[in-house]
Amino acid sequence: MFASLKNIFAFFSMPQKLRAKGVLGMNARNYFVIGKYNKRSLYPLVDDKVQTKKLANGININTPHMIGVIEHQYEVKDLLKIVEGHDEFVIKPAHGSQGKGVLVIKNYQDGIFTTASGKKLHFNDVYQHISNLLSGLYSLGGQYDVALIEELVHFSDAFQNFSYQGIPDVRVIIYKGYPIMSMMRLATKESDGRANLHQGAVGVGLDMQTGKAVQAVSHNMPILIHPDTQADLMTLKVPFWREHLLIGSQAYEMTGLGYMGADIVLDKERGPMMLELNARPGLAVQIANGRGLKEAIKKVDKYYPQNLNAEERVDFVLNNRF
C-alpha cells in the first residue's frame, strides 16, 4: 500500500522543489513573462511568417529567400508561374504552427512535385493543398491564411547522424534580448520527421557558451543515445554558435518582444537562418536543459547590463557564466 503510494509520488515533484530549481510554470509564464513583456499588438509580427521574414530581411537576418506569396484563391492557378525557375521550394501557411501544412518540395520536374518524404504529387494535389491552406485549415483559430513560398533550406551535414529524417533546428529562448536557454530538436521515427517534443522528438539542451550538448531527453526522460540513429547525443556541438545566438538577439530589436523563441536552422551554404519566431515558446526547453527558466530570467534581471546592442549582448552571454 505504502509502496504503491510512494511509486505514485515518484512521478511527481513537490512544488517547493520545482521552485528551488527555478522552474517556470505555464501560469507564471503567462502572467509574469508573456503578460508583462510581450505586447499583444506585437504578436502579428511573429504570428505572420511573411511579416517576420520582411522584418528580418530589413536588418540582414538570414532567412530562406521568399519566392512568392499566394493570398487569394484565384492566384493559386498561377503557382507554376510563381515557382518558375525553381526546382525545389517550400509552401507553408504564414500563420501555421507546429509544422502543420508545410509542404517541402524536393524536386519539381515535368509537372511532378516530389516531397521530402518521396511522395509524388500532381499539380492538382498541390492546388488542393494550397486551397486548404488559404481557407485556414492550418492556421491558429481557423481564420483565412496566406501561402508563403520560399526557398528550400539545404541542411548542413553537421547533424546528419543525429536526426532521423526531418530537419533538426535550434530553439533559442530570448529574454530582454539575451539568449538565455536553447535546445536542439531532433526528429525521430516516432515524431514522423517533425521536431516537436510532445510528438516524440528528442530535445538536446545546449550550453549557452559553447553550443555543446549538456543533456538530452525523450518523452521527458533523460537519454544519451538517439533512439533511431544510435548517435551519441553528448558529442553534439552546434557550429556557428555565435551566429545562432546573434540571430536570436537581433530578433529582440526587430520585434520588441521581451520574451520569445527563435527557431534557427543551419544551411550548408548560407549558415544559420531564422525559420520563425514564437511569442509563446513552450516550456519543454527546461526539461531538455535540466535547468529552470525562472532562474535564468532572474539572473538577467539581476546581473545583466541593460543598454547593450545585440552584438554586445551575445558577447556578454558568451563570456559570462553565472
Partner: protein
C-alpha cells in the same frame, strides 16, 4: 512583482466584500423570505377563515371586534384579509384586534376574516411573560361546598402529573367518579369545562386562563374555536389540553386570544357566533417568498428573479448554474492543468447530458462521435476544402442524430432517442478536431484529448446535475458574484499546475 500583489489585494478585497454581501443576502432571504437550503419546491400554507355572523339590532351602529392571532409563534402570517362589504375595518395593533364598523343594518350579517399562515419553527408553546396578579382564592358559600371541593382536589391528587394535569384528568375520567359527576353541570361544553378547571386551579392558588384558537387540521369546516387552559407555573404560561391534560401548545394550534379578553365582541348585534374553517394548500416556495415580502412591504422582492413568470425563471435557473461550471473549467485547466478540446466544450457536453440523462446521453454521444469520426475519415480522402468539409460533418451529424432517434423509437430503445439533445455544431467541431489531431499528432494524442474532454464533461455534469447545487445557485444567486471573484483571483494564480509537477519532475531528480 509588486503590481500583482496590489491586483491580488484588490481582487481579494472584492472576494471578501462579495462573500459578505452574499452571506447577508442569504441570511436575509432565509429570514425574511423563508428560502431554504433544501431544494423543497413547495411549502404548506394554511388558510384560516373566521366566519362571524350575527343579527343586527335595529337602528344601532355596528362595531365588531375580533381578537386576531398573535404573530411570532409557530406560524407566521403570510397575508391577512377582511371580507365585509360596506364595513370599515382596521387593525388595532396595540390590543391585537380587528375592528369592523358599519352603520345600522337589518339582515343577518356575515363577515369574514381570513389569514394565511405558514410554518415557522419557533417557540414551542412556552410563552414567557411577567408574572400575572396572584389569583384570588374563591370564597366558598358554605362548609358543605368547601368540603365537596376539597374532596375533589384530594381525588385529583391521586392522579398523575402536574396540578393542572391532575385536575383535567379527574374531570375527564371515563367513567366519572360520582363526586365529579355531581360537581359538573349537565351541559358540559368546552367553555364550561375550561371554567371549572380554572376554578379548581384557583382554589389551589394557581393562576390560569382560557386560550382560544384554531387547531390546524385539513379541511376543517365551520367549527367553533378550540379551547385550552393555560396555567402560570414557574415563570411561564403552560397551556394544557382540556380533555387529555397534555401540556404544551399542540403543533398546529393558532392562538387567537388568551385570558379575560373576549374572542369576539359585537355591539349593535345579538346572537353572534364565530366559526372557523381551515384549508391547507401548497404553493411554490418562491411564490410564498413573494407573498411574505409583500406582507412585510418589501419592494426588494419585485426586482429579483423570483418574481418573474415561471418561464423566464426556468431559463434563468438554467443560466445560474453556468458560473459554477465555468469556475470548474478554470480550476481544471489552470490549477490541475488538463488539456481539453476547446475551452468550454466539456461544459456544453455536460449540459446536454443533464438534459438527456447520464447513461443514455453518454452512450448516445459516444455513438454520434464514433460514427462521425468514421465518416470524417472517409471525407479526408475526398480532400474537401475546410468550410465545406466541416459543413458536411455538421450535416452528417444531423443525419446520424435523426437515424439514432428513429431507430431508438422503433426498437423502443430510449437511449438512442436522446440523440437530438446534443448541440450539433459543437459535436461536429469535436469530430473535426479529433480527426485533425488524430492525423497530425497521432492516435495517442487524439485519444488522450478526447478522454480528457469527456472526463471534464463528466465531472462538470455531476456538479451541475445535482438538484441541491442547482437549487442553491438559483435561490442564493448572489453567490455567483463570489464565484466571479474567485475566478478572477484564479487569474492571478501563478503557481505550478498539478500536471506540471509530473511534467517537470525529471528536473528535480538527482542524477
Amino acid at each position: 512583482m509588486k503590481k500583482i500583489f496590489s491586483v491580488r489585494g484588490i481582487l481579494g478585497l472584492f472576494l471578501l466584500l462579495a462573500t459578505i454581501y452574499a452571506s447577508v443576502a442569504t441570511y436575509y432571504k432565509i429570514k425574511h423570505w423563508g428560502f431554504s437550503y433544501k431544494p423543497t419546491e413547495r411549502s404548506d400554507v394554511w388558510t384560516v377563515d373566521a366566519h362571524i355572523s350575527f343579527q343586527p339590532i335595529a337602528g344601532q351602529p355596528i362595531e365588531v371586534s375580533l381578537a386576531s392571532p398573535s404573530v411570532g409563534q409557530k406560524y407566521k402570517i403570510l397575508s391577512e384579509d377582511v371580507v365585509a362589504q360596506g364595513y370599515t375595518s382596521e387593525k388595532n395593533v396595540k390590543n391585537n384586534r380587528i375592528i369592523m364598523k358599519s352603520k345600522p343594518r337589518k339582515n343577518v350579517q356575515d363577515l369574514y376574516y381570513r389569514i394565511m399562515l405558514y410554518d415557522n419553527a419557533d417557540t414551542k408553546g412556552k410563552i414567557y411573560e411577567t408574572a400575572p396578579k396572584k389569583v384570588e382564592k374563591p370564597k366558598f358559600e358554605d362548609e358543605y361546598q368547601e368540603g365537596q371541593i376539597m374532596d375533589l382536589l384530594a381525588l385529583a391528587d391521586r392522579k398523575e402529573g402536574s396540578s393542572p394535569q391532575r385536575i383535567i384528568r379527574l374531570l375527564n375520567e371515563e367513567p366519572l367518579q360520582p363526586e365529579v359527576d355531581a360537581f359538573l353541570p349537565v351541559k358540559r361544553t368546552q367553555q364550561i369545562m375550561a371554567e371549572k378547571i380554572i376554578y379548581l386551579l384557583a382554589v389551589k392558588g394557581i393562576t390560569a386562563r382560557v386560550v382560544r384558537g384554531v387547531k390546524l387540521s385539513e379541511n376543517k369546516r365551520s367549527t367553533p374555536a378550540d379551547l385550552m387552559v393555560e396555567a402560570y407555573e414557574g415563570s411561564k404560561w403552560i397551556p394544557y389540553n382540556i380533555t387529555t391534560g397534555k401540556a404544551g401548545l399542540p403543533k398546529d394550534f393558532i392562538t387567537f386570544q388568551r385570558g379575560g379578553v373576549s374572542l369576539l365582541d359585537v355591539t349593535g348585534g345579538e346572537n353572534s357566533q364565530i366559526r372557523f374553517s381551515v384549508v391547507k394548500s401548497v404553493i411554490s416556495s418562491f411564490k410564498m417568498a413573494g407573498r411574505r415580502a409583500k406582507y412585510e412591504d418589501s419592494r426588494l422582492f419585485d426586482y429579483t428573479i423570483y418574481n418573474l413568470p415561471s418561464l423566464e425563471q426556468n431559463v434563468l435557473k438554467w443560466l445560474m448554474i453556468f458560473p459554477l461550471g465555468i469556475m470548474l473549467v478554470v480550476i481544471l485547466r489552470n490549477i490541475i492543468g488538463i488539456q481539453t478540446m476547446g475551452t468550454f466544450t466539456p461544459m456544453l457536453i455536460a449540459m446536454s447530458l443533464v438534459k438527456t440523462g447520464f447513461v443514455s446521453g453518454f452512450i448516445c454521444f459516444t455513438l454520434i462521435v464514433g460514427f462521425g469520426l468514421l465518416i470524417r475519415g472517409w471525407l479526408t480522402r475526398l480532400n474537401l476544402l475546410l468550410v465545406p468539409r466541416i459543413s458536411a460533418v455538421v450535416i452528417f451529424v444531423i443525419v446520424i442524430m435523426q437515424m439514432l432517434t428513429i431507430f431508438g423509437y422503433q426498437l423502443d430503445y430510449k437511449i438512442l432517442a436522446t440523440a437530438a439533445f446534443f448541440p450539433i455544431i459543437i459535436t461536429a467541431w469535436i469530430i473535426e478536431r479529433a480527426s485533425i489531431t488524430w492525423e497530425e499528432e497521432g492516435a495517442r494524442n487524439a485519444t488522450k484529448q478526447i478522454v480528457n474532454t469527456l472526463l471534464v464533461a463528466v465531472v462538470t455534469y455531476f456538479v451541475i446535475s445535482s438538484t441541491y447545487i442547482r437549487h442553491i445557485m438559483f435561490a442564493f444567486n448572489e453567490w455567483n458574484i463570489v464565484i466571479l471573484a474567485i475566478v478572477m483571483l484564479l487569474g492571478t494564480y501563478t503557481g505550478y499546475r498539478l500536471s506540471e509537477l509530473k511534467r517537470f519532475a525529471p528536473l528535480t531528480k538527482e542524477k
